[in-house]
């Protein structure tokens, strides 16, 4: 099978829409005006697309997610316009791809960039209102030795209150009026009748969510002394005495601890902090501008490990492209020679690693590289305990070996196709002129193969730069760099470092910092790819 030399570049532009003409200037399709089978099929497909789109739009409107609503409306309108107008032919082919690009790349990038400018992470996940609510609820303590009273929710003239039974006495009160005795009872359990108040049936509370919230937030003081605490219920049928020590003042944005007198002020970094530095545990998300980006370059604990990781990432990406390509090219040239016996079988064997999933191979190789029990140490090194996974440089070599093993068949296939498409007369002419094999390789084969494969190499570089799977499955980033935060290791690449920093795998989450690093990685990879693509245009001169 021969691959045409302009395949790669031709893939960039959509195939020509007009069918080959026969006869007069305008193609016969342009003159067709009726409702044919093609139009009916298009109608059915567009009806399905519209149905799903409308369903999504209604659901988004119901759930009040206006961004999704807006995006769905725009995409649906665009699809309808593009597919029913006679013009805009390239867009008809490109629209699904563009749609997915917008949703899964542009939006993701935009959202990541947004997060990168905030301090979203452990301790800063909600809004300030939620942080206040959390602080107040955490500041409440059940009074030691407070018994659990059977409780009923009551109301009087529109004000909610609680009625409890304590030692045979029914006491009732509301948020403003402390508990006072209103009657006696001999029955156990919540009071069935409270003089002066009407009982709110529990089922009414359950079915009304706003009422539920009011009941949970209600605090009825036990007596006039604020230090005695107040009654609170969590389930609507029993209550205990709690004492709250924190008070929120919205005007001055402070929380005051009434027990100790400490005042916690809302700071710009999304915490409540007192003057001596102690902070309440729950914070909120705030915009921090470029802080995350600056921190990546100035935090002393992180600079050195991150620099190591960055250098290794570039080395990893470059080697993961060059070495397999070189191997693939050499094998392709070798197997192109008809003098080799059993070419077909050997070719199949050499392509076999391509069939193995990267995930599974990485895990298997990890087992094989085990210093004590691994197959590699036993068979090839006679039982020596070479610490493949524990020594930084050996681990890097090992993971590179695994990646090369997995990748070279791909280049072998591509180069085989490219070489078979080479003009044999050019090679003959070169050998007549006296060029040796190496000169032929350098001056004829390599440039012509590069024309076909350069875009592949560039996209491979971008892929290897972010090849999380192999690094994570093989050694989880490798032997840890001593003293590095987030357990950054010697085989960590930037993308797995982002994974460690984000805390998704279970550490302290810092999504803001991880997002900032992601944006930087995107910019780096994007720049390199863009520059490299421009360079490949020069190769087209060889055609």
């Amino acid at each position: 099978m021969s691959v045409p030399q302009d395949t790669a570049t031709a893939q960039a532009a959509p195939p020509s829409p007009t069918p080959p003409t026969s006869g007069s200037g305008e193609p016969h399709g342009r003159r067709w005006n009726g409702v044919g089978w093609g139009f009916l099929v298009k109608l059915v497909l567009m009806a399905i697309v519209n149905a799903f789109g409308l369903m999504g739009i209604f659901a988004a409107a119901q759930a009040q997610s206006w961004i999704i609503f807006g995006a769905a409306v725009l995409l649906l309108a665009a699809a309808d316009i593009v597919y029913f107008t006679k013009r805009a032919l390239p867009l008809k082919y490109l629209l699904p791809g563009l749609g997915f690009l917008l949703v899964f790349q542009v939006f993701i990038f935009g959202y990541t960039a947004y997060i990168a400018f905030t301090n979203y992470g452990a301790g800063h996940v909600g809004s300030q209102e939620q942080a206040v609510q959390a602080a107040l609820s955490q500041g409440e303590r059940r009074v030691e030795g407070s018994p659990t009273f059977p409780l009923a929710v009551v109301e009087q003239g529109g004000t909610l209150g609680f009625a409890i039974v304590e030692d045979g006495e029914i006491k009732a009160g509301s948020a403003e009026a402390p508990l006072s005795v209103v009657g006696t009872t001999t029955a156990a359990g919540a009071p069935a009748e409270v003089p002066g108040w009407t009982i709110v049936p529990r089922n009414d509370i359950i079915s009304d969510q706003d009422l539920q919230k009011e009941v949970i937030a209600l605090r009825v003081p036990v007596s006039d002394d604020p230090n005695a605490g107040s009654i609170r219920t969590n389930d609507g049928s029993s209550g205990s005495i709690y004492r709250s020590t924190l008070e929120w003042d919205a005007a001055s944005q402070t929380i005051t601890d009434t027990a100790t007198g400490t005042v916690y002020r809302a700071t710009d970094s999304g915490n409540f902090a007192s003057d001596d530095g102690t902070m309440l545990p729950t914070g909120w998300t705030v915009h921090v501008g470029f802080d995350n980006f600056v921190r990546l370059f100035t935090d002393p604990a992180m600079i050195s490990p991150l620099a190591t990781v960055t250098l290794w990432t570039f080395a990893w990406a470059i080697l993961s492209v060059l070495v397999p390509f070189a191997m693939g090219l050499i094998f392709a040239i070798i197997f192109n020679d008809e003098r080799i016996k059993g070419r077909k079988i050997l070719r199949t064997l050499f392509i076999l690693p391509y069939a193995f999933p990267a995930f599974m191979s990485a895990l298997l190789f990890r087992g094989m590289f085990n210093a004590e029990f691994g197959v590699i140490n036993e068979f090839f090194f006679g039982g020596m305990n070479i610490d493949w996974l524990g020594d930084p440089w050996l681990a890097r070599f090992a993971v590179l070996f695994v990646n090369v093993w997995l990748t070279y068949p791909y280049y072998f296939l591509v180069c085989t196709g490219a070489i078979q498409a080479l003009p044999s007369d050019a090679l003959e002419a070169a050998s007549i002129d006296g060029a040796g094999r190496v000169r032929q390789l350098r001056s004829i084969i390599l440039p012509l193969v590069l024309v076909a494969t350069a875009p592949l190499l560039i996209s491979s570089f971008a892929f290897s730069f972010n090849n999380f799977t192999i690094i994570y499955m093989f050694n989880n980033g490798g032997p840890a760099i001593p003293g590095a935060p987030y357990a950054l290791g010697s085989t960590d690449i930037l993308i797995s470092a982002i994974w460690d920093i984000s805390g998704v795998s279970g550490g302290k989450a810092d999504y803001g910092l991880a997002s900032a690093l992601s944006i930087l990685v995107f910019i780096v990879v994007g720049l390199i790819s863009a520059l490299a693509f421009r360079q490949t245009k020069k190769l087209e001169e060889y055609q």
């Binding site: 409702v35 139009f39 109608l43 567009m46 009806a47 519209n50 149905a51 409308l54 369903m55 209604f58 452990a122 301790g123 996940v125 909600g126 809004s127 939620q130 942080a131 609510q133 959390a134 602080a135 609820s137 955490q138 303590r141 059940r142 659990t148 529990r202 089922n203 509370i205 359950i206 079915s207 539920q212 919230k213 009941v215 969590n234 389930d235 609507g236 029993s238 545990p281 729950t282 914070g283 604990a301 004590e372 029990f373 996974l389 050694n475 989880n476 032997p479 840890a480 001593p482 003293g483 590095a484 935060p485 987030y486 357990a487 805390g503 998704v504 279970g506 550490g507 302290k508 989450a509």
Partner: protein, 412 residues
């Protein structure tokens, strides 16, 4: 224009058809019993993992029958629950109840996503250590249901039933029996596993955080002489020493070596029993032997049900927890679905008739709960890494001291 007209009509018809297909929940008739509330129209969302889902379904069925409310069980990966819960609750899209481990409590409180739980009378039915584990700064935040801890598991054919009192006794017994490896301990490969080593570390008197009357403080307690002594011991038994502790042993290798009879002892939890006895090895579960002279106190982990702070149906959620999950039947169902040590006292005594569980219960009685303070999450990376380096032969005292300094700077 006519073409467009047909198109639009067809689109509109199909669109309306499909949009109208969204299902409305069927109205449930409320069943009212004497005590049960009428929760018809209320749906509680509960997150669980695949092990516990069938168990909670039983309690959910009773709840739905008696109150008319609905319980929606969402199955998730246990490892994903903590992060997802923390991120989703503030947006309002989180569940009402979720299962979880007690060491998440600090970070959940820091995120403000859990609200306190009031167990009223049923509190006395639970083991005190399980309630303590879920208490942070004086408030109880979850309904516990099981405990887990690791223990020493020994091959009775090789070394018999007796529990070795110290590490040296264990090694001696294994050598006398002629085992290929005296003991295998999972070190998590190159990542390190300070969790499994903790029993030995506390036997030197070096707890991870200093405790006071209220529980754990945020002061690192594994420094000083005790910590250095542990580090020296670890180095002496590591790859450059006796070789008993090695970074080549990860979880699967550990179980494999014990199950094949190569190792006489191992330190594992109840989740590994199946793998360890897969090839017919007879085992006995004993408390972890001391290596440094004091009692070995491994980490005890407690699992329970948290309530979301942004739940729209907080009263019903509490009702479900206290009246339907805090019952003997529900706890028994949970135990049968995922056998760990039950936190329900009566159930714990009942299942101790199984010698394996009894062994873990004995080990847990020596154990200490994992700290649930927020600082705990930051400790693991540096702690694991330092242990790996010491096992591989780095200078024990120096590496350990550097780790302590780094930790103090991080937590500080």
């Amino acid at each position: 224009m006519r073409k467009m007209g047909i198109g639009i009509a067809a689109l509109a018809a199909t669109g309306l058809l499909l949009a109208g297909c969204s299902s409305t929940p069927p109205a449930t008739t409320p069943t009212e019993t004497e005590e049960a509330i009428d929760a018809s129209g209320v749906t509680l969302t509960v997150w669980t993992d695949e092990n516990r889902k069938p168990a909670i379904e039983a309690a959910a069925a009773t709840f739905e029958e008696e109150t008319g409310g609905k319980i929606e069980l969402v199955q998730k990966n246990f490892e994903d629950i903590r992060t997802d819960f923390t991120n989703q609750v503030p947006t309002g899209e989180g569940p009402d109840i979720t299962i979880g481990a007690h060491d998440w409590l600090g970070s959940l409180v820091q995120a403000g996503v859990v609200s306190p739980v009031d167990l009223t009378d049923t509190a006395s039915s639970f083991a005190p250590v399980s309630l303590d584990a879920f208490t942070y700064e004086g408030q109880l935040y979850a309904l516990p249901y099981s405990l887990e801890t690791i223990a020493l598991i020994q091959n009775t054919e090789l070394v018999g039933d007796d529990a070795p009192a110290t590490w040296d006794d264990a090694i001696a017994a294994a050598d006398a029996a002629g085992a290929k490896r005296p003991i295998v301990i999972n070190t998590g490969g190159q990542t390190g596993d300070a969790y499994t080593m903790y029993g030995f570390q506390t036997s030197f008197g070096a707890p991870v955080f200093v405790s006071d009357a209220d529980g754990y403080t945020s002061e690192v307690g594994m420094g000083g002489e005790a910590g250095t002594a542990f580090a020296e011991w670890l180095g002496a038994n590591g790859e450059k020493g006796t070789g008993d502790i090695s970074t080549t042993i990860d979880y699967d290798t550990n179980n494999e070596l014990f199950a094949s009879g190569d190792a006489a002892y191992t330190v594992q939890g109840p989740w590994a029993i199946e793998a360890l006895t897969a090839d017919g090895v007879e085992i006995k579960v004993n408390p972890i032997p001391s290596a440094g002279g004091e009692t070995a106190s491994p980490f005890v982990g407690v699992q329970g049900f948290y309530v979301s702070s942004q739940s729209e149906n907080a009263l019903v959620a509490q009702e479900f927890l206290t009246k339907y999950l805090a019952t003997y039947d529900a706890q028994k169902a949970l135990y049968e679905a995922d056998p760990r040590i039950p936190a329900w006292n009566d159930l714990a005594t009942e299942v101790s008739s199984d010698p394996v569980i009894a062994g873990f219960v004995a080990s847990s009685q020596n154990g200490v709960p994992m700290p649930n303070i927020p600082e705990m999450g930051s400790v693991w990376d540096l702690w694991n890494a330092a242990q790996v380096q010491i096992i591989k032969g780095a200078d024990p005292a120096g590496t350990w001291d550097k780790m302590i300094t780094d930790l103090q700077a991080l937590i500080g």
